[in-house]
Amino acid sequence: MIDVAVGDRVELRAWGSTAALVVEDPAALPAAERVLMRELAAVDAACSRFRIDSEITRLHALAGTAVTVSPLLAEALTVALRAAQLTDGVVDPTVGSAVRALGYDRDLADLPRDAPGPVQAPLPAPGWWRVTWDPMSRRLLLPHGVELDLGATAKALAADRIAVQASEEVGCGVLVSLGGDVRVAGAAPVGGWRLGVGDDHEHAQTDPAATVTITVGGLATSGTTRRRWRRAGRDLHHIVDPRTGDVADGYWRTASVAAASCVDANTASTAAIVMGAHAPVWLERCRLPARLVAVDGRVVRTTGWPGPGGEELA
């Protein structure tokens, strides 16, 4: 359902957060909006672990059997496994059981925010290397006991797909933001697309220093300030360290990364939250511009991220 459709933009609720579409030419909005709705529905039907009729849910029921998956799920799997490989398993799609053990077993809107009962003991991820995947034939063999959660990379993939397809179809510059995972495509407006960067994608940033412009690629922010719940007095959030199965240590409050695609930006920003203190060095090595905010408010930027003096450079 569309919440806002004014001039050059459409906003709606999707996947427990906000989806926004902005076009350079307002006349192109209806056509771009059709791409947005079509892709959101397709990615949800393929990748949502909260839907009993989604392709990935059916896949879990066929664990232990080699199956052929749809082209869209194949792309999502390839992206997720590549993210795991490029982060040495710090971003791992086999955290499905771990996330569920922490209580995140349904859509966030339906999740009790505070409950007295404790969660299960943390379940380390079985490991992405257990998944046998052939992208050429789209054949997947998921071992018994391995549950996938494509949440992080699938949302970013959707932003990439929508922005690129919409821009190609309508022939103008397009910005897509899915829960703060941003991708732009086509000709950017003069001065670039202006993005506020902060703790919460739904609240406009008032600090001019936290506003950047991009003309190409993607920008994603991962953080532990949203998608939180409480069990037996313990605060939990949705970013899981696959190595322990527990929530990632709270070293960074948010990590914002710019990259060639939203998938790469999201992969790096999620990895940064899990890596903690090691993240700035890793991001520098990847040559990814980034802005990290520690839980105490300290800001660290890597090379390429604009900012005022006074903020630490990695």
Binding site: G179, R194, L195, G196, V212, T213, G218, S222, W305, P306
Partner: protein
């Protein structure tokens, strides 16, 4: 005293020859068997690049393929090539983000 008799020396020399022949045959047989098993395993063991094709050809909906389940990551094994996308590293943007010179924001990026 304790001087070996000639017959005793002959028997000892003959024994050494027999042991030598047996050892030689054993070594030769072992070498041949090692070669045979080596070749057999070399054909059975998929390499990192051959693994996807081997799995794909062996797999069918009716014929589940058992998957080895290592307890820890095979750190010394080369990464599975079929998991890599065309870009083998995370790609930086073609143009770095710039500072804003003012104006309303098109969108916000934050935790969701």
């Amino acid at each position: 005293m304790n001087r070996p008799e000639p017959n005793h020396l002959r028997r000892r020399a003959e024994g050494r020859r027999r042991v030598g022949r047996a050892t030689g045959w054993t070594a030769a047989t072992g070498g041949v068997l090692a070669g045979v098993f080596g070749l057999a395993f070399a054909y059975d063991m998929p390499t990192a690049t051959a693994a996807p094709a081997a799995v794909a050809s062996a797999a069918s909906d009716d014929d589940p393929v058992p998957v080895p389940a290592p307890v820890t990551p095979p750190s010394t094994v080369a990464p599975h090539r079929h998991h890599a996308s065309p870009t083998a590293t995370l790609q930086p943007p073609a143009a770095a983000p710039g500072p804003s010179t003012g104006g309303s924001r098109h969108a916000s990026s934050g935790a969701s």
